[in-house]
Symmetry: C2
Subunit: 379 residues, 2 copies
């Protein structure tokens, strides 16, 4: 293995120094370059933006070369801008603004697992409530499986509920999936998802902006959500109550100009309230299936969805004249053929002949009063 470049070392140092999505750090790294930023921070003088004070303690313990070597021994690589593996989509974060004072292009991402980040595209983020319902879990798994089978990689956050269902849907379809964590990729959070993360890392990737060893903190979840959104061509939200963290991911996807979709659910529980509100106000597109989602995230014409149609009915196979007559047959009590003829505006002889034909295919039947509809639906 060749020695890491100075830039990679500087980025590893900045990743350890700063918090994920720290706007000052991300923007200065992009503006000055990582090495100059690191040198500036190492100077022992205060800065107007307070960044120096925040990182002062950590600066004393930096050893990025040792850290990268230790990570490599644990099967963890540090992917940075300029690497072949660095996905273009992440650079869109430079222009996507800030949410909760988090934003910007990560200085690098720590990755475990065989899936290369540049192989994720087109990715689909499937996120939602941790307090999901059985309905939500099922839909998330279905959407994830269908997307995976169509060659779209599912990206999520490995949280309880919808995230887990999405990863499991992809894994169940025997396709790789990507889990973006708020803690270091060597940590397991939530602890109950050790087996899930083991499964993810076997064929896919576990990714974090936070350096190995970092614990999950609230700010890190918020920063993490922007990475999920940026790694995917579109984000679909399955179940999100008002103010759910999943809506934060959707907001990032919007800010990045990506597709944002939501799956509706029963209005009688609050579990889809956040999704319904965003569909209602036009910031999410309603989707009901993996096929709908694929149509949205696919390149034009790549995935085409048929508008839902009822199955072809016997009525569809009738001639126009037969339909005209059928429309005039009463639903409940029968009437004589001449009455049907009059309503339909058809001669009596023709009507009688058409009625007999409709009777043979079960669309009309005769009772003591005359002709009425068979079991076909009236409207």
């Amino acid at each position: 293995m060749t020695a890491p470049s100075d830039e990679r070392l500087a980025r590893a140092a900045l990743s350890r120094l700063g918090e994920p999505g720290d706007l000052r750090l991300c923007h200065l790294a992009a503006e000055l370059g990582p090495q100059r930023l690191l040198a500036a921070l190492a100077e022992d003088r205060p800065r107007d933006d307070g960044l120096r004070d925040d990182v002062a303690e950590r600066l004393r313990h930096l050893d990025p070369a040792a850290e990268l070597a230790r990570a490599a021994r644990q099967g963890i690589r540090f992917v940075v801008p300029g690497d072949e593996e660095w996905p273009d989509g992440l650079d869109d974060l430079a222009g996507a603004g800030a949410l909760h004072e988090r934003g910007g292009v990560p200085v690098g991402l720590w990755v475990r697992g065989p899936l290369r980040l540049d192989e994720i595209a087109p990715g689909l983020a499937v996120v939602g409530s941790r307090a999901s319902t059985t309905y939500g879990d099922r839909v998330a798994a279905d959407v994830a499986a269908e997307a995976s089978l169509a060659g779209v990689t599912v990206v999520s956050g490995a949280a309880f509920g919808i995230d887990a269902a999405a990863h499991q849907g992809a894994l169940g379809a025997r396709r790789p999936t990507v889990a973006v964590l708020a803690c270091g990729v060597d940590k397991v959070y939530p602890a109950a998802h050790r087996a899930l993360l083991d499964d993810v890392v076997r064929t896919g990737a576990v990714v974090s902006e936070a350096a190995p060893g970092c614990a999950p903190q609230r700010v890190r979840f918020l920063a993490r959500n922007r990475v999920i959104a940026a790694l995917a061509r579109g984000t679909v939200v399955v179940e999100a109550a008002a103010r759910s963290g999943a809506l934060n991911t959707a907001t990032w996807a919007s800010a990045l100009g990506r597709v944002v979709a939501g799956v509706p659910g029963p209005v009688t529980s609050g579990s889809s309230a956040g999704v319904h509100e965003r569909i209602r106000n036009g910031s999410m597109t309603l989707v009901t299936s993996g096929a709908d989602v694929l149509e949205l995230v696919g390149s034009a014409g790549e995935h085409l969805v048929e508008p839902p149609r009822a199955p072809t009915t016997r009525r569809d196979r009738l001639t126009a004249r037969q339909r005209q007559l059928l429309d005039a047959v009463p639903v409940s009590t029968g009437v004589p053929a001449d009455s049907v003829a009059r309503v339909a505006g058809v001669g009596v002889l023709e009507a009688a002949s058409l009625l007999r034909r409709l009777e043979t295919i079960g669309l009309v039947e005769r009772d003591e009063d005359g002709w009425r509809l068979g079991r076909a639906e009236p409207a």
Copy 2:
């Protein structure tokens, strides 16, 4: 009771002669006036449009004066354009085009019940699948009750399923409701809804474009749907499979420039597929409650809906500084106060003091390793 005018007699005759929503008849009645149209049809010569042939048989049996008198004895009135009771909204059908070759302003409406048609406005049509689910029935009844209590009259078609649930929701709120039938208002269809229609007619109105005695035919359902849409300021669809008749009512509401809304449901059954498709393609607005619907059909500012919000949390009541610190506390394993201070960018002494304050309100707690979040949600 004064004798009916010649125009009313002519309209009653045309109502008996023609089919509901017969485009030729509705348009000619508007163009020539009902008396001249009736005289033209009585002339014994064929017409290019075939209308004469269709009505020839019925012409021989016309006695509109006797018919109106018989209707009056049954508590049925015939409301025509120009009557004080005639609602303006019906006249919009003149410019709303045709669907399934049905359209135009009715020559008159047959009405039973104390509610005057001009007292319906602002009406709300609540329609949907006859093969409804328990979920759909519940939502339809809730929306209908809430609209009724806000002074919006619920209009529907008295069919099985959602229609019945909508009427029952209004009746349960002790408010009048309007049932528009495809058969004569003296008939009961479906037969199982005799009690429901009795309840509707006690305080509200049962309405039909078809003359008394007419049976329910498929064309009459299609024509009926446009009357439901025209009597209401908006139409909300609760559960409609692809190609459901309820979507026909929604299409009429769109053609009339009225509000069209749909309630989403689980995507795992087909019962809301038609609604989802129309929300997705932008021809329906997603609504989740009576309050949402009222906001749409109300005059501007009359009914304002609050966007859904999670209940205020303890976190909302924190100072900015407390929140900044809280965001830096790990979710799972505790960390020392100086680590929290560093992540938060806050001095160690201040951090320790803030942490103790957060501990008293249960937002953070201490374990053997240090500070971590209480039961509050991490993201």
